[in-house]
Amino acid sequence: MDDVERPDAPDRDTLLQMFEIQSRIKLCDERFRTMLMSGQIQLIYYSPRGQECISAGWGVHLRQDDYVVTIYRGLHDHLAKGVPLRELWAEFLGRATGTCKGKGGPMHITHPASGLMVTTGIVGAGIPIANGFGLAAQLNGTDQVTVVNFGDGASNIGAFHEGMNLAAVWKLPVVFVCQNNLYGEHTPMSMSTGVDYISERAAAYGMPGVTVDGNDPVATWRVMGDAVARARSGGGPTLVEARTYRFWGHLMGDAMEYMPKDERKAAMAADPVVLYRAWLINNGHATEAQLAEMEEVLTAAIDDAVEFAMNSPQPDASELYTDVFGDNNDAMLQGVSR
């Protein structure tokens, strides 16, 4: 984000709210990585660092009763939808106090109270499911919106195609957010995808498609706002491609030998959260002290969540066998010698 005032910017509250979400994500991510590197915790971790502005961009447009679906790389989306820090941390660490009692884990965060409905580890699979939430709202006659997040790589899988087409044909209130970080695991988008812009694919369904710089919070906010408003008002679905970059590769421990060093260096130098922070201050939307205080509060909340999670027990052994079915679990688990 260039350091000039933006006539297209939202009001100050919204600007700060976006920053708050971005910072929460960034600080959370930093804590995860620090604790992972120091060996305090161990888990498969997909860092969303670099992609904060996208979730913040839709986050401020959504109500609590709107639905969000996301993927294994979902921490930013979970936080943008308001999943509470304590339960989120506890779930990432596999504790009984986690959102899912430690049974789902980072790839399967669910917190209906915040509207975070499904996190899936199967590339593209959340897209058809998101349509179901949209359909529920449509059938109920509410104006709830569903936002489903996925990567650039996901746009090559069958579920994307089927889901996009059905949403268009049924005019579902769903916003399809393709967080294009230019890579799917170790493969650059150009080696896997027949188009340069994922948003070009929207036309194949008669759906509006738009590409936005996902590192520009103001532009992203506007595009997301239009898409959410279209969905909310019965105008049907939109495909938003928000272009960004994964700072830390596919997952922690990734050697990143397939990412050109300069490319990554440049992306990190243009850290969108850092630039946005500076922009807020330089354009008088906030003072350094204000933002620092916000960050302090967030840090304290993360401290608290980490402590809560680290001090929480693992799930009781009996939990292995619960929640498989709603009723009569024992009978359903029958047929085991062990």
């Binding site: 639905y67 679906v69 986690g98 959102t99 899912c100 009692k101 430690g102 049974k103 789902g104 399967h108 669910t110 917190h111 209906p112 409905m117 499904v118 899936t120 199967i122 699979a125 897209i127 058809p128 499911i129 998101a130 349509n131 179901g132 939430f133 949209g134 359909l135 529920a136 709202a137 059938l139 569903t146 069958g158 579920a159 089927e162 889901g163 087409n165 059905l166 044909v169 049924w170 619960t322 929640d323 498989v324 079915f325 709603g326 009723d327 009569n328 009978a331 359903m332 688990l333 029958q334 047929g335 010698s337």
Partner: protein, 331 residues
Amino acid sequence: MSEPRIMLTAMAINEALDIAMTIDPKVFLLGEDIAEPSGGVYKVTNGLSTKHGLHRVRKTPISEQAIIGAAIGAAIAGFRPVAEIMIMDFLAVCLDQVTNHAAKIRYMSGGQTTVPMVIRTSAGAGRGFGAQHSELLEAFAVHSPGMKVAVPSTPADAKGLLLTAIFDDDPVLFVEQMMMYWDKTYAGHVPEGDVRVPFGKAATRREGSDVTLISYGRQMYDCLAAADALAVDGVSCEVIDLRTLVPWDEAAVMASVGRTSRAVVVHEAVTRCGFGAELSSRIHEELFGQLSAPVQRVGGANTPVPYASNLEADFLPQVSDILLAVRRTQG
């Protein structure tokens, strides 16, 4: 007492769907070609879109992943969707939504989100449809913890089990053998109204003392036919119809086989790694030492389903195969 209401299987299923939609606005249907004017390729959903509206009887594109996905999301959000996968073999194009999502979501969310949906699917050989439109794949769902599985054999069960499935809070795979839809051989009395058949309760279709034939779906009739034939020779067969496979009625099976000391399990699916293997294993595990003969399995051949009518007939488990299997238990 009122007259028996004799119905065909397809009509019984239609009635269950109609009743469910009438009593609960959260029930809706989705699938390919299920709406009027055609009312489904097998006419099973005939009339329902006219009565309940196209918003509740929803025709879809040929997009099975989108169908199951939409059902999952709507189910989590409080609906009770009934999705149709036209033919069971097509489960293979959307299995990810079924086994990785519908089945696992309750567990992965620690019980926060449930997926009260039904996947209705028609199945089975005997129509000359060939290798890709004739399979019974219930074993896939049984092997996927989180899925319940029902395979009705009578019109009354088709209706009663489907109603139970729709109002169950877990995802249910509901298998309809297409040979039974409109064939009068399979017609039967169906009680009026919202009469439900519970899951996990087998029906004893015939009592007997020498051997227990355990089956489900259309092959139950082959068991009855075999029992008739064997009765002539003085062999008394008990015929147990499981009705649901997850859960299945272990108590009833063990009690019966405990008495007869002999069992034959019969299903249409390919024998190898079919549900019959699970049944056989369980019976041996529970009743070892009480059995007079090993449990016999009769199932589809371990081959794809062939096209030529003579081969297709041979693929299917035959009454003669059951007779042979029973003879082996008499050894």
